[in-house]
């Protein structure tokens, strides 16, 4: 079942082919396991969560650990420059297969997701107290991990979109974990709306790209060249739309506001989502489509412009925030801008330098988020202005934070230094001086708030109001591990050579392998870095002197507030519209609906009038007495409904019409329909009778009617019109029956195929059983909705007053 091909060239000889096929099949299974392992662990976590309590986090960590192990096996067996495509048929008719691309980039991201996942589970096990819903937390986390792994390994763009949106859903659940808090719900909703809406843009882009190029496979798209494709306009549009998706997920301008809002999540979630995973997807996608679109001129301007501008904006906002997590969130926005912008420069080593910076950002940002969580945990505070002197109480945490901050600022001996140097060198190579200036300014701001993060929290004297308890060693280890990794890889960057050389875009980048070293010689980049550190330090001292007085985010940059206002506006608008249409007062509302129905039906009749009336002369008008009698009775009882003046009598007249309609079904020999009609009729009579006591008295209604007598003629015309048009339609349907009706076929096949002689029932439960299943599902959901509405309907005055019954207009009018 597993189709495959290897990009490295055709297999030689039959034996080699066999061997390769076996290896490939086992790789497919292993990769499926890598992605599915977190999901498979969910039942176990759910079962054991109540017994293990917080320690279930350690159990959860086994899933990403296992995935990482399997991934290592895949990476080892795939060779030094892996590029393997694995396919499992899914909807082959539409060309949509579960197609996975195993190459340097996806293996790199897979490792990051798994490794940070392990540490986050460990950290969460210590961070989350006993009272949290651990089962829910860890199953959402595992669900999220699986979705992330699926996204990075997808080769088919449509599959990538599916996983992409799954990460959005999972992150919604995680961010809104404290769903009792308003802030949490708002953050989750913003994150979901922004990422899902931009994700939909991305879907349109994917489809455009697929139509223009004829394939949804990333590998094939990267191999092809843009000039082969149909239409430059389509390609440009799809490029922009795909980038909108990436910008939304990675919180680039103008979507940057959701990321700080998502900080309402528990800190382990923030550490995972905002350092290693979710927001990196945008960067990942940019990296994936970079080989496809890099030759477009628009690519350079759009990606660089948005990316570097966001970098500056994020750094500026971080400098003006006071909450520990908010500072980290805005610095994440800023660094993501840097990462995305660097793809726009599109130089030869760009993709590798970018990946290096992703790694470095993962390491230090993960560590910083975790230390922020520890500070929050031990002091109950996150406001930088009220913290200080914590280094004495938590030296290990302070050490991790120091390394993290140094990497954030790009100081030598950390990975941050190496990656920033490389990216700066790219900008210098490309002679993109405008972007270079933006990066230098943002980096200076970054140094300033990075210094603040460390010195104002861990050094100095402790404010008296601050009460601290010492953190345990277990919670301090994950950030320490991350920080040590940042330090070791920063001091011996040569360790990363192999990884980086595996992340090469075939055909786009030169063959000679890259070598990282701590010292690349005395050049412009080093000078710039020194300048950045000096200026940043100066800025920090300056702000420190002024006491961070201006540390508030200016109103016009509060996009989150504007977004919320827009959402509120929508609901206010819909309420206004509903009230304007008088949806609570059927006599006013129904004519509107019927009027438009009439217009659309009559329009259809008028447009096709010649064909419509052509067989009408041939209608034979032979009436059987029984049919005529029933029709007459129905008509008479309906006239009764109009003429009678009391609710009860009207209702009886209406049900008489209904029961005579049943008679019609009997006449046309449709016993199933007749039975259903009788039962539905009885049920609705009972329901209306139940509500009847709540109706306004007939007299009251009559006085109401008199006031609206003018509208009466209009209503008569409407009803007459609907009757006329429906008659025409019925006659038309009778004259122009379908040449190949489906009914007789059902009758024929009912016995041989469905083994039943009641064709109505075989259609319901067999031929169209799927429809029935859908219908009963809808029925149940609709009932739940109706019950929820009845529950939430506010009763007027308590007790028995009929005027407080739901849904009747008189409630309003009777109030003084």
């Amino acid at each position: 079942m597993c189709g495959y091909f290897l990009a490295a060239g055709p297999p030689t000889g039959a034996w080699a082919a066999d061997f390769r096929e076996i290896a490939m099949a086992s790789t497919t299974i292993t990769l499926s396991l890598v992605i599915l392992l977190p999901v498979l662990a969910v039942p176990l976590v759910l079962a054991l969560a109540s017994r293990l309590g917080p320690r279930v986090g350690y159990l959860t960590a086994a899933a990403p650990l296992g995935s990482a192990g399997l991934l290592a096996w895949i990476a080892a067996s795939a060779g030094s420059q892996p590029r393997v495509i694995l396919e499992i048929p899914w909807v082959p008719q539409l060309g949509v297969n579960l197609s996975f691309l195993v190459d340097g980039l996806s293996i790199f991201y897979g490792f990051v997701i798994c490794a940070i996942g392990v540490l986050v589970c460990w950290y969460a096990a210590e961070y989350l107290g006993r009272k949290y819903a651990h089962a829910r937390f860890y199953s959402c986390l595992l669900f999220f991990m699986a979705a992330m792994l699926g996204t990075v390994f997808s080769n088919n763009l449509l599959l990538l979109f599916v996983f992409w949106e799954l990460t959005g859903v999972a992150s919604f659940l995680l961010i809104g974990f404290f769903h009792e808090s308003d802030e949490s719900r708002r953050g989750a909703r913003q994150a979901l709306l922004v990422t899902a809406a931009t994700g939909l843009c991305m879907l349109v882009g994917i489809i455009l790209l697929g139509l223009a190029s004829g394939t949804y496979s990333l590998a094939r798209l990267a191999d092809g060249s843009l000039s082969d494709y149909k239409d430059v306009g389509w390609i440009t549009a799809s490029c922009v739309l795909l980038l909108v998706g990436a910008f939304g997920k990675s919180a680039q301008f103008p979507f940057q506001f959701w990321l700080p809002g998502a900080m309402a999540a528990p800190t382990p979630v923030s550490a995972y989502l905002h350092s290693a995973t979710m927001v990196k997807l945008g960067v990942f996608l940019t990296g994936r489509i970079f080989p496809i679109f890099h030759s477009l001129e628009l690519w350079f301007w759009l990606v660089c412009g948005v990316g570097f501008f966001t970098m500056l904006l994020g750094a500026f906002l971080a400098l003006r925030s006071n909450d520990l997590k908010a500072i980290l969130a805005y610095s994440t926005v800023s660094q993501l801008g840097f990462l995305i912008g660097a793809y726009g420069v599109g130089s030869k080593t760009g993709i590798q330098a970018d990946t290096l910076h992703v790694l470095s950002h993962v390491l230090y940002k993960g560590s910083l988020f975790m230390t922020a969580g520890i500070v929050d945990h031990c002091t109950g505070l996150r406001d930088v202005r009220r913290l200080g002197g914590l280094g004495r109480y938590m030296p290990v945490t302070a050490f991790s934070a120091a390394i993290g901050v140094a990497a954030l600022a790009g100081l030598p001996l950390t990975t941050g230094f190496i990656s920033k140097e490389l990216l700066l060198a790219d900008l210098v190579d490309a002679k993109a001086w405008v972007w270079f200036a933006l990066v230098v300014i943002s980096a200076t701001l970054t140094v300033a708030f990075a210094a603040r993060l460390f010195f104002n929290v861990f050094t100095g004297s402790k404010p008296d109001a601050l009460s601290v308890h010492r953190p345990g060693w277990a919670i301090q280890t994950p950030p320490l591990l991350l920080a040590m990794a940042a330090l070791i890889l920063g001091a011996f960057p040569g360790l990363l050579d192999g990884t980086l050389n595996a992340i090469k875009v075939a055909g786009l980048q030169e063959e000679e392998p890259i070598h990282l070293a701590l010292w690349h010689g005395f050049n412009l980049e080093v000078l710039t870095t020194a300048l950045i550190i000096l200026c940043g330090g100066g800025l920090y001292l300056l702000c420190q002197k002024s006491g961070w007085k201006r540390a508030e985010i200016p109103g016009f940059l509060r996009f989150d507030v504007a977004f919320e206002r827009g959402l509120d506006g929508l609901s206010v608008f819909s309420k206004k519209l509903t009230l304007a249409l008088r949806a609570d007062w059927p006599p006013a509302y129904l004519p509107i609906v019927i009027f438009f129905l009439l217009i659309s039906l009559a329009g259809t009749v008028a447009v096709s009038s010649t064909r419509f009336f052509e067989g009408f002369s041939a209608i034979d008008i032979s009436l059987s007495p029984l049919h005529t009698f029933v029709a007459f009775m129905i008509a008479a009882s309906l006239v009764g409904v109009i003429v009678l003046r009391r609710w009860t009598t009207q209702l009886i007249a209406l049900s008489v019409a209904g029961f005579f309609l049943t008679f019609y079904f009997v006449l046309y020999r449709a016993p199933d329909l007749a039975m259903t009609q009788i039962l539905v009729e009885s049920a609705s009579v009972v329901m209306i009778l139940l509500l009847l006591s709540r109706f306004p008295s007939s007299q009251l209604l009559r006085s109401e009617e008199k006031r609206e007598a003018k509208g009466r003629i209009f209503r008569v015309i409407l009803s007459g019109g609907v009757g006329l048009v429906m008659t025409c339609l019925v006659l038309f349907a009778d004259r122009h029956s379908h040449p190949d009706p489906i009914g007789p076929k059902y009758l024929e096949l009912s016995k041989p195929l469905a083994e039943g002689t009641n064709a109505v029932n075989t259609i319901l439960v067999d031929f169209r059983g799927f429809d029935t299943l859908g219908e009963i599902t809808v029925l149940l959901v609709a009932t739940l909705g109706a019950l929820g509405l009845m529950m939430r309907y506010k009763r007027g005055r308590a007790g028995n007053d009929p005027a407080s019954a739901p849904g009747f207009f008189l409630e309003k009018k009777r109030r003084p």
Binding site: E180, K575, T578, L579, D584, P671, D672, M675, T676, L679, V680, S682, A683, V686, M687, L689, L690, L691, L692, S693, R694, A754, E755, G756, T757, N758, V760, N761, T762, L764, V765, D766, G769, F770, T772, L773, I776, T777, L779, L780, T783, L784, A786, L787, G788, L789, M790, M791, R792, Y793, K794, R795, G799, N800, A805, P806, K812, R815
Partner: protein, 177 residues
């Protein structure tokens, strides 16, 4: 509306009527595949029988006497229909493939021919009847001055955080005042 009737005759006979109606409805359900009837019709009929019971004995008592919460049973019905549909996929067959069982002789009944469509129909039956019962009970309670739900049920249908839904109407009132 007064929920109970004073007529002794009706009160005495309702149990019998209830039984008869349900015999008919189950009969309709079982024969549905070959003769007029089926899960939907049978379910509606059973629902009607419960409405009768409620009208005569009072909704409070009806609700007290129900052995299972109707919505739980309705969900079970949906689950049953879904399982009937998906089970063949486990054996590599198409979704909703039907299986038949033919027994030549069953004591007291004789020849029996049943298939998985009947299970599907039972699911429909349960869902339709239970939903009818639930909706009518809630409507009846709310029109006879009781809160629509018992306090035990409230957490299932609304969260404490939710407010009532017609705030706009109140706002209008406030403006009018």
């Amino acid at each position: 509306m007064k929920a109970t009737t004073d007529s002794f005759l009706v009160r005495a006979l309702i149990g019998l009527v209830f039984l008869l109606v349900n015999i008919v409805s189950v009969y309709l359900l079982l024969r549905g595949h070959n003769l007029p009837g089926g899960g939907f019709i049978g379910g509606l009929m059973t629902g009607m029988s419960f409405i009768l019971l409620g009208l005569v004995r009072g909704w409070e008592e009806l609700q007290r006497e129900l052995p299972v919460p109707p919505l739980r049973l309705a969900s079970f019905g949906l689950l049953l229909a879904m399982i009937t549909g998906t089970a063949p996929m486990l054996f590599g067959r198409q979704f909703l493939t039907q299986y038949q069982l033919h027994l030549d002789y069953v004591p007291l009944i004789g020849e029996v021919h049943i298939g998985t469509p009947l299970l599907f129909d039972v699911g429909v039956f349960l869902l339709v009847s239970c939903i009818t019962v639930k909706l009518v009970i809630v409507l009846a309670r709310s029109t006879s001055g009781l809160p629509a739900f018992t306090p035990g049920e409230v957490p299932y249908y609304a969260s404490e955080l939710e407010g009532p839904i017609e705030e706009t109407a109140n706002e209008e009132d406030r403006h009018a005042n």
